[in-house]
């Protein structure tokens, strides 16, 4: 293997037969390159997908109120259920073990004015805990705090796009917005990875919203987060207990499917992960297909190379080359070429992937990548199969009687 003479012989064969070297090298390089690119694109797709669906915190339950469908405890069916502020505090004290955070959310659409600019936005009246749940990222200023809640402060945290729409280049912090016949002071600007729609929201304290709406204490929606260490099963248990608790509190038939709705993000997450796994499966499948195509390619080239060299091999044998040395020569040559070109193909593919970054985001491919280990493993596989594919014709060529090989014109 480390015989200098044999290497010299091989380097000579390689450099004097450029087309052949190029063909076999190119096949391997292309095979690996396409594999790396496709695999990377698959991962890019997965990235985009995860960003789409995994915007919010995943340990979250959304609780909605609806209408009952069954009569219970003297109440008629079709009764409208409403949450109130005391539901928040009750859940807090009852589920202390599970609970991480809790916030109400009251969503209203409002025509918002600043100077001559106005537009319709949805306003969300929330508690401070909402920031973590929605993964709201503050760019400037601050979020709603507990003091705002207590004082029913008329403050607003606006989305990045709201700021652009209404304030243009002005700094919105400390300015006043008019909506719902009140004036709100802008205390913060946020961005959200959930996309443009998320950034067209305005957050205000929920107590302020309740004060505006004739000082009621109604809550549209309750959002709770549970401790992540509970896991999926814990989340399901929590969901079940919460449902029962609320049904009991609101006097809803425990068998009533309506009245209380709970959306468990953990369930969504599981579904999404399943989808993600299918994507991964497709990516793997495509990658395998490419690898197999590459293997077939290199096998064909090897058959061609050996065929082309039959006569030369015959001459070498007549001059005293043993079958072993013939096989060793062909294999060593092919391993050398496939290793080098496989490495080059892999490198070019990986570099290209790294430079793509977010430029293909429009095609749902973001930050495509391939693990170094996967790339190296696949290169190795291709080289190994190239060697096996080369071994068979090489062995056959080495076993042909030289007289037959020499007759081959």
């Amino acid at each position: 293997m480390f015989n200098r003479d044999r290497w010299q012989e091989i380097f000579q064969t390689i450099s004097k037969n450029k087309l052949r070297t190029f063909l076999s090298g190119f096949t391997v390089a292309l095979g690996i390159f396409i594999f790396v690119i496709l695999f990377g694109f698959g991962n890019g797709l997965k990235n985009t997908f995860q960003e789409f669906f995994l915007d919010d915190a995943t340990n979250t339950l959304f609780v909605f109120a609806g209408r009952t469908s069954k009569p219970y405890k003297g109440y008629k069916a079709d009764r409208r259920i409403e949450f109130k502020n005391d539901d928040l505090s009750d859940i807090k004290s009852e589920f202390d073990f599970y609970l991480e955070d809790i916030t109400p959310r009251i969503t209203r659409s409002a025509n918002v004015k600043y100077k001559n600019e106005s537009n319709n936005y949805s306003t969300r009246a929330v508690a401070p805990a909402h920031q973590a749940i929605e993964k709201t990222i503050l760019m400037k200023g601050r979020y709603i705090n507990q003091k705002d809640i207590q004082t029913q402060a008329k403050v607003a945290v606006i989305g990045r796009l709201v700021a652009i729409d209404l304030f243009k280049s002005e700094d919105p912090i400390g300015k006043y917005l008019a909506f719902d016949s009140s004036v709100f002071k802008v205390i913060g600007v946020f961005q959200d990875e959930g996309g443009d729609n998320e950034e067209r929201n305005i957050y205000i304290p929920y107590t302020t919203r309740q004060a505006i709406e004739k000082s009621n204490d109604k809550v549209d929606q309750i959002i709770v987060t549970f401790r992540p260490e509970l896991g999926h099963l814990g989340a399901l248990a929590f969901e079940k207990e919460l449902r029962l608790f609320l049904k009991a509190k609101k006097s809803i038939d425990p068998t009533d499917q309506n009245g209380i709705f709970i959306r468990n993000v953990a369930d969504d997450l599981k579904r999404n992960q399943q989808f993600s796994n299918v994507l991964q499966l497709i990516v793997t499948f495509v990658g395998l297909g490419t690898l197999i195509a590459g293997i077939i390619g290199i096998s064909n080239i090897m058959v061609f190379v050996v065929k082309e060299r039959t006569k030369e091999l015959g001459v070498r044998k007549a001059l005293g080359a043993s079958p072993k040395s013939i096989i060793a020569m062909i294999l060593q040559e092919s391993v050398f070429i496939t290793l080098i070109s496989g490495y080059v193909g892999m490198l070019v593919g990986v570099i290209l992937l790294q430079n793509i970054g977010t430029t293909l985001e429009d095609y749902f491919i973001k930050n495509p990548y391939i693990d170094v280990s996967t790339a190296i493993f696949s290169t190795f596989i291709l080289v190994a199969f190239g060697t096996i594919a080369g071994y068979i014709p090489a062995k056959r060529a080495a076993q042909i009687k030289p007289i037959i090989a020499l007759r081959d014109d």
Partner: protein, 233 residues
Amino acid sequence: MISIKNLHKSYQMGASSLHVLKGIDFHVEEGELVAIMGSSGSGKSTLLNILGMLDTADEGQYILDNVEIKDLDETKAAKYRNKFLGFVFQSFNLINYKNAAENVSLPLYYQGISRKERQQVALEYLDRVGLKEWATHLPSELSGGQKQRVAIARAMASRPKVLLADEPTGALDTKTSYEVMDLIQKINEEGKTILVVTHEPDIAQMCKRVVTLKDGVIVEDKKVKQVMASAHV
């Protein structure tokens, strides 16, 4: 040097079998220059291939330099070929991407001789065939006669016991043929045993002994008065 007894060889041609060599008895002493003649299909090339261990006989005994050649696998055959035999082919069979010196040194590579020594020996033999200045030229840059001389240098480089030439002049014009035969005669004068397969009577006359094959048997085996090729050059 060479001794064969009752040599038989058949080729399967589909369903039928073609009996090419039908019991050949044949002896060659050291230093002989033997021409094997015969029309095409007479079995002369098959005989040479068996002598050269490029092919195997079905039956019979073959002794080369006191070594009985039998039960050859390819590895053993390769070793013997490298040790005992030098080949010259009608179509030269030079490796087209190697220059003259590299072609000549190839059998030495398979003998495991160091690169430096190979180069030296190759140049020495190229010099002997008068092509030292052409050492770095590729076969495609050489004429037919030059190619055959390179092939002869290559066959000689491994210092074989026997030189086997299969129609060495078959692809050459008369003048070049005589030049090549002149070279072969000179090598023979130095004591090398040489077998030449040919169907050209004038080439056969330049050997010391002519063996004629017909339909797989030796019909004539006689010493001849050698015509020196140099007289014609």
